[in-house]
Amino acid sequence: MLLEVIDLAVDLPTPQGLRRVVHDVSFSLDAGESLGIVGESGSGKTMTALALMALLPDGAIVSGALRFLGRDLVGLPEAEMRKLRGDQIAMIFQEPMTALNPIQRVGRQVAEPLRLHRGMDKAAAWAEAVRLLERVRLREPERAAKAYPFALSGGERQRAMIAMALACAPKLLIADEPTTALDVTVQARILDLIAALSAQSAMATLLVSHDLAVVARNCRNVLILYGGTVMESGPAEAVLSDARHPYTKALLDARPRANAPRGERLRAIAGSAAPAGANPQGCPFAGRCPLTLDACRVTPLPTVALEGGRRVRCLRVGADGRLT
């Protein structure tokens, strides 16, 4: 097992005191596997990803276990964590426009992890950076390496970010909304690139997205997050074609359909997304959920294990996976 996350919880400091933004999130990931974490803004998906990198905001408290290659990352000294970051675990971010240092040449930035983790000299790291840029299929990699970020398009910058993340051949790639800021046509190409690269080197990918379609197309497994809690998880195909949790169903219903009759209104989930930490005792979706019972607000969420490695966390779902 490459990565095993057990009962992860994240508390963030706020002026009103600590606020729990991620609750008992558990999942595991094998080498070469892909897992999609889906959720709305504020669902805790980015905080889960940052917890893995130990890059949460100052004062955040992580509990539970994050086992990476058998070693628990929670409480790992910063100096040890630094050796993993950019080497064994790499991350790419949502905004390629701002995620690159604007005043450094792209090649130097791609070369930096190699200088840091592999101790390469400037010339060797630069040559390797050009090779990496070629590997992410940037046209004219030499020119791209010499360019400053502002001279590249959004797609090119995201490719450069991927090249930077791949520099040290990480075992785990965390991609936080890697295509959200890109044009649709560029999106698909970037996601295909990530998939191809991970297949080449048995690199596991954790794809964080709000976009169900992106996850369905690119990930074997999926985790549906709401209010900092996992609502449903399992193989992406099964979960998305036959959702059991009322929240997953609502999310699928809210997708615009290409074959919908003209003039049909898009369906939205009533109410607004619960802030993580709402309903600390019960289900965070209680109140917005059409099936809410009084018990939903106060009963700790049960975990119902279904066939095919699926799990649903809902008071209204029975052991057979059907609504009770």
Binding site: A90, F93, N101, P102
Partner: protein
């Protein structure tokens, strides 16, 4: 880069032309002239007029401006009315005190500001940050001439570590000269450091919130390496720009501080020459300060462009 430098240079030349006109014009407005001051209150109007004619003070404004400006461009700064000697060597002699003083003060200011600002930004929100910012608040509130007097009391009168004033001249050797300049340089530099530390901190704190800082950390860089390698270079443009602007303030402060320490620098020359109505000397000195400030800011512009590629390629 070359096109950018040329463009900045043209701006510089235009600024200088305007500045020279303002400097000359403002001194002209002052009541009284050199002839009256030289001859004293008991002189008859006829003798004053005769001396004014001899000095060329009765020529029209435009002609005198032309003589002054064209002379200065060809390196001839004219004759002092009060001393009758050429102004060029007079200023050069004073610059030998004022230029090292300004350089030392700026070095002190920049060093303190960068160290304090980077430290505070690294500790933002914590005790260290609050302490540095409180210290800079105190520094901001202190007038430099008062700080100069306090420094004299402590280091010159009480501990006798440095002279309280005066300047031995460079022929006396480097040691005594630096000793004579260190207290005035601290008095000038500390006040500027207070301003610049705040600028450094706020520029850095803003930069530290940028996405590329998180990218740098995700690569495995330590907080310190991220701060120095990625944040500081990006924050340098505003820091350098403000430093350039504050340099003018530092030179103005030097005029006062030189008088406190009885240093034979440009500042004292200006004050004495204003008293003597020695208009040409004042004009030359003020113009020299203007040229220095404008040249420093030109260099700052070039340095910023060297740091930030986006400034070099911006289409105008």
């Amino acid at each position: 880069m070359l096109g950018y430098a040329l463009q900045r240079f043209l701006v510089l030349a235009a600024t200088l032309a305007v500045a020279s006109f303002v400097v000359f014009g403002v001194i002209e407005i002052l009541p009284g002239n050199a002839a009256e001051t030289i001859l004293g209150a008991s002189a008859t109007p006829e003798t004053v007029a005769a001396l004014a004619h001899k000095l060329g003070l009765d020529q029209p404004f435009a002609l005198r401006y032309w003589h002054w400006a064209s002379g200065a461009l060809s390196g001839d700064l004219g004759l002092s009315y009060a001393y009758g000697s050429p102004i060029g060597p007079l200023i050069a002699e004073r610059l030998a005190v004022s230029a090292p003083l300004a350089a030392m003060a700026m070095a002190i200011a920049a060093t303190l500001a960068l160290l304090g600002g980077v430290y505070a930004a690294g500790q933002r929100g914590k005790t260290g940050d609050v302490a540095v910012m409180a210290a800079s608040q105190v520094g901001l509130a202190i007038p430099n001439f008062w700080l100069a007097l306090v420094l004299v009391l402590i280091f010159a009168v009480h501990w006798r570590l440095a002279p309280a004033g005066g300047f031995p001249g460079w022929s006396a050797g480097i040691g005594p000269c630096l000793a004579a300049l260190i207290l005035p340089a601290i008095a000038l530099g500390v006040v500027q450091a207070a301003v610049l530390a705040r600028v450094t901190r706020s520029a850095l704190v803003e930069t530290l919130n940028e996405d590329f800082i998180r990218t740098a950390r995700a690569k495995g860089l330590s907080r310190g390496a991220t701060l120095w390698r990625h944040a500081l270079p990006n924050a340098m443009t505003p820091i350098l720009t403000i430093m350039g602007l504050r340099f003018a303030d530092l030179l103005a402060g030097a005029i006062v501080v030189e008088n406190v320490f009885v240093l034979p620098g440009l500042g004292r020359l200006i004050v004495q020459s204003i008293g003597n109505r020695d208009a040409l000397v004042v004009e030359d000195c003020v113009m020299l300060i203007a040229v220095t400030v404008i040249a420093i800011n030109f260099l700052v512009d070039l340095a910023c462009a060297a740091i930030d590629p986006r400034l070099r390629t911006r289409e105008t």
